[in-house]
Amino acid sequence: MRFLPFESSRTFPLLLCVVTSFVFLDCKRQRASGDSETGKVVHLTYWPAPNPQEILLADSVVTMWNRMHPDIQVRMQPIPVSQSTEEVLLAAIAGKTTPDVCSNIWPGAMREYTQAEGLVGLDTFSDFDSIAGLRVPRDLLATFKAVNGHYYQMPWKTNPVMMFYNRGMLKAAGVETVPRTYSEYFAAAKKVTRDINNDGQVDVWMGERDIRPIWWQRLFDVYPFYIAASNGKTLFMGDDVAFENRDAENVFSFFQECYARGYFPRTFFQGGDPFLMGKKATDFAGPNRISVITRLAPELHYGVAPLPVPDDHRGPVYTSGDYKNIAIFSTTLHPKEAWEFVKFLVEAEHDLLLLQIANQIPVRGDLLTNRLFAAYFSQNPSMVKFAEQTVYTRGMDTVPDLKEIFDAISQDYEACAVYGRKSPAEAVRDAAARSRSIIEWNQ
C-alpha cells in the first residue's frame, strides 16, 4: 500500500518545491509571450473566432503579414473556446489579459466593453475615416458608432440570416415554389411534415430549432424574423423598448403555429444535424452554413431564399446580420502597429479570402461591383443572394444588458411558441415588460 508519495518528511518538501516551480513556470511562460520587448521587434497577439474556417483564414493572413513585416510579428491565438466569445472577452478585460487585436467582436456587447474602457478609439487614428468610409457605406457605418460618438470597431463581416431549403425534400412533397409568406410556409409545411417510413411517428419536418431557452438561439429566429416583419426595425429606439407591437406578435404567432401544428418537432435531436440529414426541409442561418454543408453533406441540394414574412408584407425583406467586427484592446502596448494590422486585415484581397475560405460576407459597399470579387460570385451563385441581402441587413442595438434582454425574450418565446402556454400578445407584452425592468434595474 505504498501509494502516498510522502512517507518520509524529507521527500515532501522536495515534492512541494517541484510542484510549485511547475506552477510558477507555467505562469511565467504565459506572461512572457504577451510583451517581450527585447530587440526592436514588436509582438502582437491576434484572436480570431475559434471555428476551423476562420482559423484557417487568420493563419494565412497572419503568415502573409509576418513575411511582409519582420519588425511587427503577429501571433495568432484562437479565442479560448467557451459558451460564447463575450464571456471570454469580459473575463479577459477584467483580468487584463486581452489580446492586442480581436476580430470576433459582437456589436451587441460593445456597451460593456467601452464602459470598461477596454477598447482603443479607432477614430483617434487620422486615417480611420478614409479607410472605413471607403469600405462601408456611410449610413451603415453610423450604426456602429458608440453612444459617446466615437468608433471602437472596424466593421468586418456579416452573416445575414436567410432561409436555406432542401430542394429535394420540397420537390418530393410536391412543393413547387419556395414559400415567401407565413401562409405559403404553412402550406408547404403541411405537405413536407410527415411520416415517411410509416412507423406511426413523424420523421421529417418543415423546420426545427433548439428548444432549450438559450438566449443566442433567438438571433436565428425571433430577431431576424422581427426585423423582416417590421421592415427593418430593431428591438429598440435609442434606449427604449420598441418591439411591443403587431409585428412582434406576428412573429411569435408564426412560431407558435409551427409548433402547434407539428411542423417543428418539440424535441432535442441527438445524433446529427437534422438539416444535413434531410430531416428538416428549411433552416434559418447565415452564409457560414454553406461551408458546413459542403464539408459534411456535399450531396445536399439546397437553395437560399429570404425569410418568410407576414402575408400583407410589402417591399424588400430585411434580416439581421450577426456582424462581427475588429477592435483593438486598450491593453495593447503598440496601438499604432495594431492599427496597421487591422488595416491589413480589411484589405480587399483579404476580404476575398474571407469569402473563399470562410463563406462569410465582408462588410463593404462594393461587393457586387468590385471586379476583384466578380469571379468568386459567378462561381458561387448562392453567395450572391447573401451579398444582395446585406443591403437589407440590420445589426444589434447598442443597449446595455442585451444578453439579459434576449434571455427574457427567450423565456417568453419558449412559453408562447414552443409550449403554447401564452398567447403571442401576452408573450410580447411580458417580454417587453421584462426588458423594461431589466433596463430600469441596471440604470
Binding site: 508519495p5 511547475f22 507555467d26 471555428n51 441527438q270 445524433g271
Partner: protein, 275 residues
C-alpha cells in the same frame, strides 16, 4: 431458497440498471453514427473512428495531464495540511485552539454559493485566472480533512507521542515519521475523497479557466459536448465521455473506496462529526 433467488434477482437487476448505461456508452463510442441509438450492444462495424475524431479535435491528452496534476497537487496538499492542523488540534496546546476548532467547524457549514463569486474575483485580482494556481489554491486545505484527522489522532495513545517526545523527536518528525504509518486508512480515505471531488469538479474550472490547454478533462469534455465542436454528432461525444470514464473506473476508488467506507473506523468517526 426462493428468498435468496429473489434477492439475487433484485441485486442482478440493480447491477444491470447501474452498469448498462456505461456499457451502452462504450459500445456507442465504437459504433457508426446510425447504429448508436440501437439498444443492442453488439455491432459488426466497430471502429475507433470516433476516438480518432475526438483526439484530433480536442487536446484531451493534455487535459488528462492537467486534471491529474491539479487533483494530485490538491490531494497532497489537503492531506499534508489537514493532518498538520488536525495534529495540532488534537495533540498540541496553544492559545486560540478552541476558537480555531470552532471556526473550522463553522467553515464546514458555509455553502459554496456564498464564497464562489468572491473567490472568483479574488482569482481575477491575484491575476491567476487561466493558470493551475487558480485550480489548486482555493482547495488546498479543507476543513473536512482537518476534522477527520483530528478525530483519528485523538484516538491514538498519548503514551506513544510522549515516548517520542522524550526521545527528543521534533513534532514534525513525530507527525510524519511516527503517526503517518499508523494512519494509512485515514489518509487514504481523505485522499480518495479529495481526489474524487477535485477531479470531478466542473463549475469552478468553467469559471476560472478559459485557455484550452489548461482545461481539466471533465471541463473540456463538457465544452466539447455542449459547444459546437462535436458538430452534433453523437459518436464523438460518447467517445469523449468514454475516455473520461476509462480513467474513473481504473480509479482505485471504485474498488477500494466502498470497502474502506464500509470497514474502516475512520469513516464512522467522521460520520459522527458531520451529523
Amino acid at each position: 431458497m426462493i428468498k435468496s433467488m429473489m434477492k439475487m434477482f433484485f441485486l442482478f437487476a440493480g447491477a444491470v440498471v447501474f452498469a448498462y448505461p456505461f456499457l451502452w456508452m462504450i459500445a456507442g463510442s465504437l459504433k457508426p453514427e446510425l447504429e448508436i441509438t440501437n439498444l443492442w450492444l453488439w455491432t459488426s462495424n466497430a471502429s475507433f473512428h470516433n476516438f480518432r475524431q475526438v483526439l484530433t479535435k480536442i487536446p484531451i491528452g493534455r487535459a488528462f495531464v492537467n486534471s491529474m496534476f491539479v487533483s494530485l497537487s490538491t490531494t497532497m496538499s489537503v492531506v499534508v495540511f489537514g493532518s498538520m492542523v488536525g495534529y495540532a488540534l488534537a495533540r498540541l496546546n496553544f492559545h486560540g485552539k478552541k476558537i480555531l476548532y470552532t471556526l473550522i467547524l463553522f467553515t464546514m457549514m458555509i455553502p459554496f454559493q456564498i464564497t464562489m463569486i468572491p473567490q472568483y474575483i479574488l482569482m481575477v485580482k491575484l491575476g491567476i485566472t487561466d493558470s493551475y494556481l487558480s485550480l489548486i489554491i482555493p482547495t488546498m486545505m479543507s476543513a473536512f480533512s482537518i476534522i477527520v484527522f483530528r478525530q483519528f489522532f485523538l484516538s491514538l495513545p498519548q503514551a506513544l507521542i510522549d515516548a517520542a517526545r522524550i526521545d527528543g523527536c521534533s513534532e514534525v518528525r513525530i507527525l510524519f515519521k511516527l503517526i503517518y504509518p499508523l494512519s494509512r486508512s485515514t489518509i487514504i480515505t481523505v485522499a480518495l475523497l479529495t481526489f474524487m471531488a477535485t477531479w470531478n469538479d466542473v463549475l469552478w474550472p468553467l469559471m476560472v479557466i478559459r485557455e484550452r490547454s489548461l482545461m481539466t478533462m471533465p471541463q473540456l469534455v463538457t465544452i466539447f459536448v455542449i459547444g459546437g465542436e462535436a458538430e452534433a454528432q453523437l459518436g464523438p461525444q460518447l467517445a469523449a465521455t468514454t475516455l473520461l470514464v476509462a480513467r474513473a473506473s481504473s480509479h482505485p476508488g471504485v474498488r477500494v473506496f466502498p470497502k474502506i467506507l464500509h470497514r474502516q473506523h475512520g469513516f464512522k468517526r467522521h460520520k459522527r462529526i458531520t451529523e
